[in-house]
């Protein structure tokens, strides 16, 4: 069953780098991360790769495989054409640290700027709340996010236009949507979404939704409703008139 396959892996750091070829045995059922581990153990012990749970649940091993943003632990080799080299690169939207590892710390800084959860007063005397499952469902979809940042990687506003200082990217629109639509939350983030986070830059090409390993309907369920809230609040002509009066 074992066959040889060629892996073309980007090696380098912030100062630059190049692709290097590694030929290794592949067995039935292997995923890309297995091949990377095998290369690491047998040929390139210092090959840098970030991973953790290896079960598609932690979102650490994000990379670009044959040009597609993927979790390496969930990408099976038998879905790739092994007659061609398998090209593995780090995510492009973030600065390189080394080899397949990128500096994703920007994401952690962005999250801290978003106004945190602020619940209404408890509903019951014992300090608890009452919520219906149907009201919770839509936010639970957003809370499936494993923070792999593949949506950020593929978003052209970040990837091509490098608007990291003005734009928070799909991950944090999903995060903001989870807070805004949380049945208990009382905070208002709509002005921030318009001014600070430039939600208007998103032109809903759905690239982010297409790469989400958790199948979160990012564009339709999170970003568009937030855009609507912005429009409602700031660009509704009737409301505008009402405010003038």
């Amino acid at each position: 069953m074992a066959t040889q396959a060629l892996f073309r892996i980007w090696r380098g750091d912030a100062s630059g780098g190049k692709f290097q070829d590694y030929k290794t045995e592949v067995d039935e059922g292997m995923v890309v991360l297995d091949a990377v581990h095998r290369i690491q153990a047998e040929q390139a012990p210092d090959l840098a790769v970030r991973w953790n749970c290896k079960a598609g649940k932690c979102g650490s091993c994000s990379a670009e495989v044959n040009g597609m943003p993927k979790l390496m632990c969930m990408t099976r080799l038998n879905q790739l054409n092994l007659n061609m080299p398998v090209i593995i690169e780090p995510m492009h939207a973030f600065p390189s640290i080394r080899d397949l590892v990128t500096d994703v710390s920007w994401n952690y800084r962005v999250k801290k700027t978003i106004k945190p959860f602020k619940p209404r007063s408890p509903d019951a005397p014992d300090g608890t709340w009452r919520m219906q499952q149907k009201d919770v469902d839509r936010v639970q979809e957003f809370r499936k996010c494993i923070e792999c940042f593949l949506c950020q990687d593929v978003c052209h506003v970040l990837r091509e236009h490098h608007k990291h200082d003005e734009f928070i990217g799909p991950r944090f629109f999903v995060y903001a949507a989870a807070l805004e639509m949380h049945p208990l939350d009382t905070e208002d983030r709509v002005a921030d979404l318009k001014d600070k986070y430039s939600i208007g830059y998103c032109n809903i090409t759905t690239c982010c939704r297409q790469v989400c390993p958790e199948n979160i309907t990012i564009t339709e369920n999170a970003i568009i409703p937030l855009k609507e809230r912005v429009v409602d609040k700031f660009f509704d002509p009737l409301k505008h008139l009402f405010n003038i009066l």
Partner: protein
């Protein structure tokens, strides 16, 4: 002289899973300066993989539930080797800890009247597990993370701690390096909380992430703390065994609950061959009766596939060892057969077991509605760990605290599902609270630069040996093979003696480990630094398992297959002697107070 940066804190938390984050939040809330150090990025810790739920006697679904029942369930599950005080505090405080998560933004599944929904789970008398589908751990860690980042704590992501710095018997901080650049860092601290999780990577087949290399266990041990109950390693009976890439990933008990059956390579339902006397009366006599049980017939008794986890795991292991296993070293778990009994069977399976259907489809190219799965036991959880005080979570070293999987006591000889997430919350909070109090009551300890320099020197030695030295990955694989083969689910004196020999040889090889390249994000170096911890915990597991000459809870000795009344009276302690040797001792189990004893009697 190695150079290092210094980041001083009042309380330093090592580990950022559920316990570490909860500890850090609590300590920060009391006004002290808190630093968190974690090996991964924030929010990626192993807590993220927990599925079933968090156990708390909130009585939202069944009003007969209360802390006393939860306490008794936990003690029964732990075969009464538990630290009773921890079991009591855990049962009493878990409900408040879960409600607190809701106040911080967690969204649990709901009951019809809008409260937090609770589900049934093995060993819990009433529906008790608050949950979010099958991703409760993710909800929990994200809630703690998102709340924590606004509480004033500093987080040092992707850093490895190499050693604890000591000042005359008291902890004075920690020393390590950032994985990204390989720079050394000293974190002087008045109190340190270990929240580093478990040891599952010491075994070949494990449901645990790479971080689980026993770091906290080994750091505490080397600093002179006592380790407790190290022989108790929980193996879950059904993990995936194939493909290699997913070996160890859990296959939920729900598959068997829906009528899935275990067969060997001869097609035989081997679980019928070995039903413990204690369970004979509650177990189905025929396949037909077992099937009726899974379909909700209250007059039928459960099929033997649903016997306790430890027993099922051992039976699977026996089939494989006897040469009746599946092609990839497991046995067959067949749910597809139920199509014979249920109309529209394939759709029924997909509806009842959606995540299992997708897991096998995506990772193994197997359609579980058509083919059997291959499953085998997988290393799942470490009951043993740092011995702590039940109230404060302080170890036997002043200023050193431990919470969560790295601490021992709550679960005794075996853990109930759902009790780990509640453990993280209850004792994470307590460790944070008492670490902060300790920091306030005690001034800064002195950091001895010689200790730091010696740790730094040791850490960079592998580079001096270079690629000609031993390959760290190879040593790790060899250790995993030995532990899996010799100290796994069924244990025997001579095999464990063999394991000790293997561990000693691997230690010699680990001392000669060599690394290529530089210190920037060098996975080979990271692996080399994990080796000593893995070897230490492996030795402790093996020595404790050798000493306990009985089978109880998660430990099964083929040479001592029965529970012994004598051994019911003892826990086992491992600690480092002055000479550097590991010393293993018996320690009498602490007597329960009369009122708790009475609760256990009432609930029998």
């Amino acid at each position: 002289m190695a150079e290092y940066r210094t980041h001083p804190y009042d309380v330093l938390v090592i580990g950022a899973g559920g316990a570490g984050l909860r500890a850090a939040i609590e300590a920060a809330a009391s006004g002290v300066k808190v630093g968190v150090v974690c090996k991964s990025l924030l929010g990626k810790a192993h807590t993220v993989m927990a599925e079933g739920g968090v156990a708390a006697a909130m009585a939202n679904v069944d009003d007969r539930d209360n802390w006393r029942v939860h306490f008794a369930d936990t003690m029964r599950g732990g075969q009464y080797l538990n630290n009773w005080r921890m079991a009591e505090l855990h049962a009493r405080e878990a409900p408040d800890r879960v409600r607190e998560l809701e106040a911080w933004g967690a969204l649990f599944d709901r009951t019809r009247d809008g409260k937090i929904l609770q589900r049934n789970f093995g060993g819990h008398r009433y529906p008790r597990l608050a949950h979010v589908g099958d991703r409760t751990g993710l909800e929990m860690i994200r809630t703690l993370q998102d709340h924590g980042i606004h509480s004033g704590m500093d987080v040092h992501m992707e850093c490895t701690v190499l050693s604890l710095v000591m000042d005359a018997g008291r902890v004075a901080g920690a020393f390590g390096y950032d994985r990204e650049k390989g720079h050394f860092i000293l974190w002087p601290a008045k109190a340190v909380v270990l929240a580093t999780g478990g040891v599952g990577r010491a075994f070949k087949i494990s449901s645990n992430s790479w971080e689980y290399t026993g770091d906290g266990h080994a750091l505490a041990y080397r600093a002179g703390a006592e380790l407790l109950d190290m022989e108790f390693v929980q193996f879950h009976p059904t993990g995936m065994v194939w493909p290699i890439s997913v070996r160890g990933i859990l296959v939920t008990e729900g598959v068997r609950g829906e009528g899935g059956v275990l067969r060997n390579s001869e097609g035989k339902r081997f679980m019928f061959d070995d039903i413990p006397d204690l369970y004979k009366a509650q177990t189905a006599d025929t396949e037909e009766e077992g099937w009726r049980y899974t379909q909700g017939d209250k007059d039928a008794r459960r099929p033997p596939e649903l016997l306790t986890r430890d027993h099922v795991a051992r039976c699977i292991n026996r089939e494989v060892k006897a040469g009746r296993g599946s092609p990839h070293g497991g046995v067959f778990l067949d749910i597809a057969w139920t199509k014979e009994r249920i109309k529209d069977g394939a759709e029924h399976i997909k509806r009842k077991l959606p995540s299992m259907y997708h897991q096998f489809k995506q990772l193994a190219d197997i359609d579980i509605t058509k083919e059997p799965m291959e499953v085998g036991p997988t290393t799942h959880y470490m009951m043993g760990g740092v011995r702590v005080d039940g109230d404060t979570q302080m170890s036997t070293i002043p200023g050193l605290f431990a919470a969560g999987e790295v601490a021992a006591g709550l679960h005794g000889a075996n853990r109930l599902g759902g009790n780990s997430l509640s453990d993280l919350l209850v004792f994470g909070r307590r460790a944070g609270q008492y670490a902060a109090e300790f920091a306030k009551a005690n001034g800064a300890a002195a950091v001895d630069d010689a200790q730091v320099q010696s740790a730094a020197k040791k850490a960079i030695e592998p580079f001096e040996r270079g690629p000609a030295g031993e390959n760290p990955y190879k040593i790790q694989y060899d250790l995993q093979d030995s532990m899996q083969e010799l100290v796994g689910i069924v244990r025997l004196e001579n095999e464990m003696e063999q394991a000790l020999g293997a561990i000693a040889k691997l230690q010699t090889r680990a001392d000669k480990v060599g690394i290529d390249g530089n210190r920037m994000y060098n996975n080979g170096w990271h692996t080399a630094m994990d080796l000593e911890n893995m070897l230490t915990v492996s030795e402790a597991i093996t020595r404790a398992a050798l000493l306990r000459k009985e089978s109880r809870g998660a430990q099964f000795r083929d040479d001592y297959p029965d529970k012994s009344a004598e051994w019911a009276k003892f826990n086992i302690i491992a600690r480092r002697a002055e000479s550097g040797e590991m010393v293993i001792n018996k320690r009498p189990v602490t007597e329960l107070p009369a009122e708790l004893k009475q609760i256990i009697e009432e609930m029998k």
